[in-house]
């Protein structure tokens, strides 16, 4: 394909995407296909001769699109937001077009230095401590996901505790890590991958708001120490996936400080709220953290993948992950004057990760981002009020940010049936969790274009389907 053909095909693709967003509300949010339906419509082997873009786009329309669940629909309330914006798409397009490898500073200095700058901006934007800035001992790096951040943090903590002996000799001894019963599953996955073991990950009990109990954490640590274990890592969450609970950062942080345990804060879901000063009391004590992550690819209008990860002391990270084969040696690295981000995460290779984040922040400006976050929170509070005022539904927890947890009074089976019935209409899509053993419905309100009208439609639909199901019993 020549540059001039690319001009033509590229512009068609831009129009395709614009058309998609203009018509997105007319499509069923949840894909209605059966397992194997898409695969069976695709040929069993690759074409020998090249095909035209027209044929490919035709297949996208006919074969792929029926199998898409529309995460960008304003009627999408499932799981978590994965919201997108046009400036983000353009930043990502530029990154694809440039096709640079940012594994080390020398392989494209702008790729490293823009990332450093943008990550420093975000420290201020989110009210995070100055120690996370590149100008201090810390620094930030863009990871792909919070799962990778969690793994990176747990491995760095393991090395800090064992004085890099685990990197040398493998994991020995009895290292234990702490999370709450509500912590994201990626921490369990990370503990397994890092050779800590699931049985050495303690799930601490939570209070009525599903936040970790610091006393229970303290008691477990004491018990473990008595039993000959070595506590080394605690993960506190700002906005759990199930219910958006916030662990008491300051109290947990003090326990970590006293024991010299690594404190990782997982703010993947709700860190974006910290753009607004009125929510920052939720992260009181954040200066005690050794590492912190949040996901612009969830609630900050940045398309997947983009997870921001900071550490308070980058030497722990670099000493843990650094590898320097001959073919990557260069003067800039030897000078010590540059960051080589390859030493800050699992991967070696990396695309120009910060471009889209830079575009998003500059397009919206801090005030624009704050405006949209506040709107989503306001909508969540409206929805919570409607639930509260209804006769058939209960509000399970008061929403702190943009997630509403609620349930119909008719019990677990009914709630699942109601959810499936509503989702099958294709009008909206939402999902469930389980809290205190009971099924809870979740409305995660954070898509870029969701407004009051969409939410009212959703609530009306849920009420209508609930009544129909009750009548049919």
């Amino acid at each position: 394909m020549t540059p001039s053909q690319f001009r033509e095909e590229g512009k068609k693709m831009i129009d395709w995407i614009a058309d998609y967003y203009e018509g997105i509300e007319n499509m069923p949010v949840l894909s209605q296909v059966k397992p194997g339906e898409i695969k069976n419509r695709l040929p069993g082997s690759a074409p020998q001769q090249g095909e035209t873009m027209e044929q490919m786009i035709d297949d996208v329309n006919k074969i792929i699109m029926p199998g898409i669940t529309h995460w960008q629909s304003p009627d999408f309330y499932a799981y978590f937001p994965s919201n997108n914006s046009f400036p983000s798409i353009l930043g990502d397009l530029l990154s694809s077009g440039l096709g640079v490898q940012g594994m080390i500073w020398a392989t494209s200095p702008a790729c490293t230095e823009l990332e450093t700058r943008v990550m420093d901006w975000l420290v201020d934007m989110l009210g995070l401590p100055g120690k996370f800035k590149s100008t201090s001992m810390g620094g930030g790096v863009i990871q792909d996901t919070a799962s990778s951040s969690a793994l990176t943090a747990i491995v760095a903590a393991r090395e800090k505790t064992t004085a890099f002996k685990s990197n040398e000799n493998g994991v020995a001894g009895k290292l234990v890590a702490y999370v709450s019963t509500q912590t994201h599953s990626s921490l369990e996955k990370a503990a397994k991958i890092a050779g800590i073991g699931k049985n050495n990950l303690r799930a601490i009990d939570v209070d009525g708001n599903f936040a970790m109990k610091p006393d229970a954490l303290k008691a477990q640590i004491e018990k473990d120490k008595k039993d000959g274990f070595t506590p080394f890592f605690v993960c506190a969450t700002i906005g759990t996936t199930s219910s958006n609970a916030v662990d008491p950062i300051e109290e947990i942080g003090k326990i970590c400080e006293e024991g010299n345990y690594w404190l990782h804060i997982d703010a993947a879901m709700s860190g974006t709220a910290m753009l607004c000063p009125e929510f920052r009391h939720h992260q009181k004590g954040v200066e005690l953290a050794d590492s912190y992550c949040f996901n612009p690819h969830k609630w900050m209008f940045t398309n997947f993948d983009c997870d921001c990860f900071w550490v308070a002391d980058r030497n722990h990270l670099i000493n843990t992950f650094s590898i320097l084969p001959e073919y990557l040696k260069n003067k800039a690295t030897e000078s010590g004057a540059v960051f080589d981000y390859r030493d800050w995460h699992i991967q070696l290779g990396r695309r120009f990760r910060s471009l889209k984040l830079w575009f998003v922040i500059r397009h919206y400006g801090v005030e624009g981002l704050q405006f949209h976050v506040r709107e989503h929170v306001r909508l969540a509070r409206d929805f919570a009020r409607w639930v509260d005022e209804s006769t058939d539904f209960d509000l399970v927890v008061e929403p702190l940010f943009n997630l509403v947890c609620f349930s119909h009074k008719a019990g677990d089976t009914f709630n699942i049936k109601l959810m499936d019935t509503v989702n099958r209409t294709g009008e909206i899509y939402f999902t469930h969790t389980r809290l205190n053993g009971k099924v809870v419905l979740r409305m995660s309100i954070g898509q870029s274009n969701t407004n009051e009208k969409h939410l009212q439609k959703a609530w009306k639909l849920i009420l209508t389907k609930a009544r129909e199901l009750i009548l049919r019993r």
Copy 2:
């Protein structure tokens, strides 16, 4: 930004990228900036109010572009190819635009099923064994990088060997893994992360072609077993980074089969060559592999990131990485009829990874891809012949694929000086390695638009600068 503004801005961006490729040969390949130069030109804090795309593109042109090393230039011969193509950019753009999360089948069935199909296509395209197909016990998944594939393989192997006890209790015992002295550094990184430890990774000696010696592997395994260690994992490479050496897969595979050790094949660099049947003798014995990866984002015209990873028995993988919190439970997963790719890698979230690969394969067709691979190999052989026929340079190894290793007879210091001098001209960019302790220059020939004319210019420039430096001594 409204859809209609996006149409306008998006088309400008498409033109920007087309302009970039049309003018890429006029820019210095290697960025000439000093550490901090880019960062210092970027403001210290984020804008409060939104800015226009025009301002952002203006900054891209003025601030970012001087800090770009042009990996897509036809004059780029450094490290490894990271070649790109317009269909790949369009596939990636579509993925950004759709913004779907493919973490589980249910969150966008097409995202999972297209990936399964394309990965099955590639098994045939590369002459890999049928056991890697989704229709057998195996299957493929797109990872971000070969580093992640290596980590995934080593962790799955660890669990297979310890009957999932490491996942439960952490790494204990004396597991040992085997690589060659030429194996990629990502294996050492993976061994560290997985809690195996660097000291339990044995670097086996290589022969005159830098390929692992199977006898040395066998001897080391015997010694380790006698010393009470548990061998569990061997990595064989098809195309090492330093010199494109190929380990003897069949002999290594038989050793693994006999001892029941996991055999991972890292074909990140040169797996693309297997598109052409005449190179497949290099992977003789591949049916003995437990896992295999290659990087379309290196040499197969697919922009970063895209690493293809297969396993012979997907149950080992899934049982190792599976996590199923309540909020991800759904009927399709429970039915067992679908793949949830989140259980096949480190991350939970994932974008629509297969679209760009699908576009690339369909655009070129198998024959088109073969044509370009053969061209690059032909160019590498031409270059090797020029080196061989010259009086001042030595060919270090006969090139098997698209990498030429050579050196000037004047010694290490001179070679580094020559490389730096040539790279500073901005005309071409190439890098070095060290083989048998000596500095070796590397021409990695694999950019999408590199042709004979570019290569002739490169060789002429290297000759000229070498003569100038000799005269000036």
